[in-house]
């Protein structure tokens, strides 16, 4: 390498060194040395670019982490929603059950003080045998042939008893029969089940005054049901060849959705009783 080139290199080195000395000895308004200011100015774009890249990377990383957190949170919230929905369903069930029990309690207090509340354990609605099983038995004082009622009227009677449960034959069972009377005209008959959702009232004299919509209640003549418990309303009247009328009765109680019932342990107060809230069209 030539002397001139060496001199140029040496010159550059010396000048740069002294520039560094100068810049290091001069302070700016903010107290930082000029050297630092120059370095910051030169390295600024690089630092900014790397900062932006790092920020983007951190943002992406944070975003994915946040997304993961959001997904996890979403799963937790979905689980929470499911749990709350189940709780809401249970609460609604409890409210409905509470209302049913309250009505049953009212009925018990007003109509049948000496009665026993029971829950339906199982039900059989096969048509030829319409039965329910309740969670009260001989241990609770339940006996065969005790009447069973629910909010709105008669349900059936006990046909067999075990220690802790009992079987109740519903009014719509083909083998059930209840002495009944048309509340308005006092026309008497027997309500029997047909296995379907409609009951038949038999043995009503041809000239008895029975109209569509008349209310049919228990007459108490069968020795099982006290009188006055609602059975249903007349939905159709047919004449039969033996000189009587066959009356179709729509049950007042929805026998297919029973949940709580009352077992009447002793006959209630004397007299024709109307269930609370029952309206009489007559």
């Amino acid at each position: 390498m030539s002397t001139a080139r060496w001199n140029a290199i040496l010159l550059v080195i010396l000048l740069l060194s002294q520039l560094l000395l100068m810049s290091g000895s001069v302070q700016g308004d903010d107290g930082s040395t000029r050297l630092r200011g120059w370095f910051a100015r030169v390295s600024g774009p690089v630092v900014q670019a790397s900062g932006s890249a790092g920020g983007a990377f951190r943002g992406a990383l944070g975003g994915s982490r946040q997304l993961f957190g959001v997904r996890t949170r979403n799963r937790e919230l979905e689980g929470e929603v499911q749990r709350l929905r189940a709780e809401l369903r249970e609460a609604r069930e409890a409210v409905e059950e509470n209302a049913r029990l309250r009505r049953l309690l009212d009925m018990r207090e007003q109509l049948a003080p000496d009665s026993l509340g029971a829950s339906v354990v199982t039900a059989s609605h096969a048509g030829d045998t319409n039965l329910i099983v309740i969670d009260r038995g001989a241990r609770d004082g339940v006996r065969v042939d005790l009447p069973v009622v629910a909010w709105g009227g008669a349900v059936g009677r006990v046909v067999s008893v075990d220690a802790g449960d009992a079987v109740v034959r519903l009014l719509d069972d083909p083998f059930s029969g209840v002495a009944a009377v048309v509340q308005r005209s006092r026309a008497q008959g027997v309500v029997v089940g047909r296995g379907g959702t409609v009951l038949d009232m038999l043995y009503v004299p041809r000239f008895s005054d029975v109209l569509h919509g008349d209310r049919v209640v228990t007459s108490g003549l069968d020795g099982i049901f006290p009188r006055g418990f609602g059975i249903g309303r007349v939905s159709a009247v047919h004449e039969v060849p033996d000189g009587s009328q066959r009356i179709q009765v729509e049950p007042e109680v929805d026998l297919r959705s029973l949940e709580e019932v009352l077992v009447l342990l002793a006959p209630p107060r004397a007299g024709l009783l109307d269930p609370p809230g029952a309206d009489d069209p007559a």
Partner: protein
């Protein structure tokens, strides 16, 4: 270029500058004795010698007089030593007017460089002092001529003693 000579010359120049400043405080505005060895070595010896002497003399000046921007005189004298050394290789500097001119031009360049560097470093500069720089250029040119005359005399005296 012997290092001892170099140190002695620079030390003498510094001593003269200090003495001059003590006698006349305004002297440094018009006279820079430390520039004389720089110009002499650059014109008489080599570009590298001028550069190194300028660097040493300038830094010594900065350190001794505690210049507001440390390295300013070192930077100027290094660059001017290099420039004068390069010019001496291209022009005939054996004549006194040429030496005077180069010395004067170097002093003006020194003033311009100082002014520019101070501006670049955001230092408050009271503006370019044309008068002071002009006087300084004349003084420096004369001092360079004197330095060459002195060294020639010295060399001649030594040669006659040797004969």
């Amino acid at each position: 270029m012997k290092p001892v000579h170099l140190i002695v010359v620079i030390a003498l120049a510094l001593a003269g500058q200090v003495a001059l400043g003590a006698l006349w405080p305004e002297a440094p505005r018009y006279v820079d004795l430390l520039f004389v060895p720089t110009a002499w070595y650059a014109l008489a010896a080599s570009q590298r010698a001028g550069m190194l002497v300028g660097c040493a003399a300038g830094l010594l000046q900065d350190a001794w007089f505690q210049t507001d921007v440390f390295g300013l005189n070192g930077f100027n004298k290094t660059a001017l030593g290099w420039a004068l050394g390069g010019l001496s290789a291209r022009f005939d500097v054996r004549r006194q007017p040429a030496r005077f001119a180069f010395g004067a031009l170097a002093a003006i360049a020194d003033g311009l460089l100082s002014f520019g560097l101070r501006r670049m470093l955001d230092q408050t500069a009271p503006g370019f002092a044309y008068g002071a720089v002009g006087v300084k250029a004349l003084v420096t040119g004369g001092l360079v001529v004197l330095a060459f005359g002195f060294t020639r005399r010295l060399h001649e005296g030594r040669s006659s003693r040797t004969r």
